[in-house]
Symmetry: C2
Subunit: 499 residues, 2 copies
């Protein structure tokens, strides 16, 4: 009874969230620039309504009553998952005072503008005070949200429910210790692979057509989604039947458009696979950012940069771009798309070095909260970490600590999920192959449905019904760990670079 009414209220909140996603998608793909001010007002109004609806006393009471109703029910049931999620969201929304939320929004809006200018002008000092304020306010936010061990846990929990900073530190230390020597080994053999082939001119309309073919073939359903252009590619959705991926093509960088298409299609298939019964509930869609990223990276890298994948697609690609590729062998192409080298910009990093970029950000965030690094020392600390982990020193802060949007947006505790997703992608893939050893060879025949069906059955259909920790345990029998990823990197890059 309360459960029914609760479900109605949650469905409305879900709809309002979906509406916000429509506004955001339109803003980034269709809207004329001149409308930015008006759209900010739309989003502010919707945010206010959403906050009101998410924090009513009635909702709190409905959740309390529903908690009594589910007492004794199967802990794996939809009802229990729904009420638990409703409780989690309600607590998250009500713990932080409304005035703080408003002040935080104002602070990050200003910070974002000053960060953009600081980055453009390579001048950290312009962003320094905003960044200090954001670290202070997120510390305060953590106090409101509550934590047992470390304030970082409260921040991280927003994106990776149940994950603790102590675990991240342990995992990352392990990962770093194993990755740094590999990166150094590749650097010593860097002539063995080059991405020059991908830097020829590839006409954009042909890139688009090929990308759409690939996305369709691996299983992104264009009848329940679409693809558009965006400056910063992303995936969003307004229901499992309306999943929008975006990409950006550069004429002289083939990898950019294609692999971001596959990456976003990976996110998209996860959303499209969420069970119909979960739609219009807070259990719809991916369970955490880490698990989401595991899917985009699985499809982008483990599948999309594999030799088997290109055994199937490379002849097609050569047909589409004969001028550029008819003299390049499959092996040439395979080495080009997997060329690895340390670089300054995270979003352009290859799959070997990527996690090290993440760890640098994580280390610094923790160090600032712990008082070990002062705001003014961030640029130097950043550069020292790049030297330590990747063997390179950013020539300026634009290519250094000013490169990412996250801090200016007040998104602290978010970065680790990118690296955790990379680790998970291999843990899941190993399990899929255990169940269906034929999967890798199937790629060479353009067959991706065995893998997709396994992911669908084991991960996608569950949406957010299981918290990430539970889902990971249930699918892999393990916690997050580094070995599958490290073994994959060692095997693949050992072969490519002869190390």
């Amino acid at each position: 009874m309360s459960l029914d009414t609760l479900q109605e209220r949650l469905a409305e909140i879900q709809s309002l969230n979906n509406i916000g996603a429509v506004l955001g998608w339109d803003q980034q793909t269709q809207m004329p620039e001149a409308a930015a001010g008006a759209r900010a007002e739309h989003l502010a109004t919707l945010g206010k309504v959403l906050h009101e609806k998410s924090t009513t006393d009635e909702l709190g009471k409905l959740i309390e009553d529903a908690e009594k109703e589910i007492d004794g029910m199967d802990s794996d049931s939809f009802e229990v998952a729904l009420v638990n999620m409703a409780r989690y969201n309600f607590d998250q929304a009500t713990k932080v005072p409304t005035e703080f939320v408003a002040e935080f929004q104002r602070a990050t809006a200003l910070a974002h503008n000053r960060w953009a200018q600081a980055r453009a002008e390579n001048d950290f000092s312009q962003f320094r005070d905003d960044l200090a304020k954001i670290f202070e306010m997120t510390q305060q936010q953590a106090e409101y949200l509550g934590y047992d061990d470390h304030p970082y846990d409260a921040l991280l929990d927003q994106y990776e429910r149940g994950m603790k900073s102590a675990d991240v530190t342990r995992i990352f230390n392990d990962l770093r210790d194993q990755l740094v020597p590999i990166v150094a080994g590749i650097a010593d053999n860097k002539d063995k692979a080059s991405d020059a082939l991908l830097r020829l001119d590839y006409p954009i309309e042909l890139q688009r057509q090929f990308g759409n073919e690939v996305a369709t073939k691996i299983g992104f359903d264009f009848d329940r989604g679409r693809q558009d252009l965006a400056v910063h590619p992303f995936c969003t959705n307004f229901s499992r039947n309306d999943v929008r991926i975006t990409t950006r093509y550069e004429i002289d960088w083939f990898s950019g458009g294609l692999f971001s298409t596959i990456h976003e299609a990976g996110h998209g298939m996860y959303e499209q696979g969420s069970a119909e019964a979960l739609d219009r509930t807070p259990l719809a869609g991916g369970t955490s950012l880490g698990v989401h990223e595991s899917q985009s990276r699985l499809w982008e890298n483990v599948v999309g940069r594999s030799r088997n994948f290109w055994t199937f697609f490379y002849p097609e690609l050569q047909k589409a771009f004969p001028e550029q590729l008819s003299n390049a062998s499959l092996d040439d192409f395979y080495r080009a798309i997997n060329a690895s080298s340390p670089s300054f910009i995270r979003v352009e990093a290859d799959e070997v070095t990527y996690c090290l970029h993440i760890m640098i950000r994580y280390d610094l965030e923790r160090a600032v909260y712990d008082g070990d690094v002062k705001i003014d020392d961030i640029p130097a600390a950043w550069n020292a970490k790049y030297e330590e982990y990747l063997g390179i020193t950013p020539p300026n802060d634009t290519l250094g600590c000013l490169q990412d949007v996250h801090w200016s947006a007040g998104i602290m505790g978010y970065f680790p999920t990118y690296a955790l997703g990379n680790l998970l992608s291999l843990q899941f893939y190993e399990k899929a192959i255990e169940a269906h050893p034929e999967i890798p060879e199937q790629f060479a025949e353009g067959k991706f449905d065995t893998l997709l069906t396994w992911l669908q059955d084991n991960i996608y259909q569950h949406g957010s019904k299981y918290p990430p920790k539970n889902l990971i345990k249930q699918v892999t029998g393990e916690e997050i760990r580094v070995e599958p990823f490290i073994n994959y990197i060692k095997n693949k890059y050992g072969e490519i670079y002869g190390i």
Copy 2:
């Protein structure tokens, strides 16, 4: 003080309305079909929130207080207009019981589906009961809304504030008496113009490019708007800086794409011209459907189908379509785009016959409310009217009384605004030419800004600050009347058809 708070509340309501428009635009231009169910839920949730926010006791109290505050203020002031509009909208929203609104939504949702099927299968009987229910419910709606003379006034008032059915009847009788003989005269001379030239193959991408050039040239600002494809072309906006027009191209019907582009650009320029100070208030954008339609029709027909307009554009068009048009003279083309003949389908009607289609619908709506025509007799009455006004009898109901979506959507009292817009387009145009007699010749030089600026200054900038009756009086010194339109038709078509 109350006025400030009132303005904040109204701004939120305006934002929610804009958000609904984004959802609608996306639905009709971008959304995958599979998402229809989810989008209906988004719209229902938003509608509920909008209704809540529009009918709170707090809002009613704020309006009452603000009414005291504006007492004695200049009746032409922004504040007075704002409070009057707030009062009007609040009364409209609170007079109709929430349960009735919900029941009406359910009824029209069902009716729409059955109408679509009835139309597809040419079977009025499938839609009959729904139509009867909609006539009953709209009569009830009129009772809730209130009226002095006739329930139709209450319905009409929703779209053309202050207009009375008695006035519409008087205007339409006059218009019909003068139009019917003109239509008959053209029919007797129908060989003097033909649209065959427009039915050659015109590649769609070239149509699109030419249409965008024309829209840009007449003054639609693509930096504050965009154009997309839609099955049923429309114009919508989410602020004066974000105006979205849509169109549809057919390869073998050149007029369809181009003139719908100019039509929607006319609506769009009206919205783009609304003063910045009115944005985020209920005074933003066009003041009524009739005045809106006067702008789309002014640009589409009076400007876009004039000889001067094509003196400028026809050489461009011939360059774009040499194969189709190099042997056709400007005069051939001018006659083709102005060929007139009675036809069954309203949306395909030319500017001479269009208003007669409207009058038929108006006559029937009134006759049903007055008990003079029974639901079952609508098809026969419809056909008789087509014979009487246009000299043709629809061969079936699909081409007859089932053709329009409006009745199934519960939109009664809406049709007259289309015809009123046609009359107004000439009243406004006459006044513009009185002020700037050089306007028509300027078109021949591709110069449209004198007209646009005049419209901007006299109509567009005011948004909905003045109720339509006041605006019309202020701009023309008159009420709506038929002579300017009839004179225009007589002159133009007298010359084309030699009558």
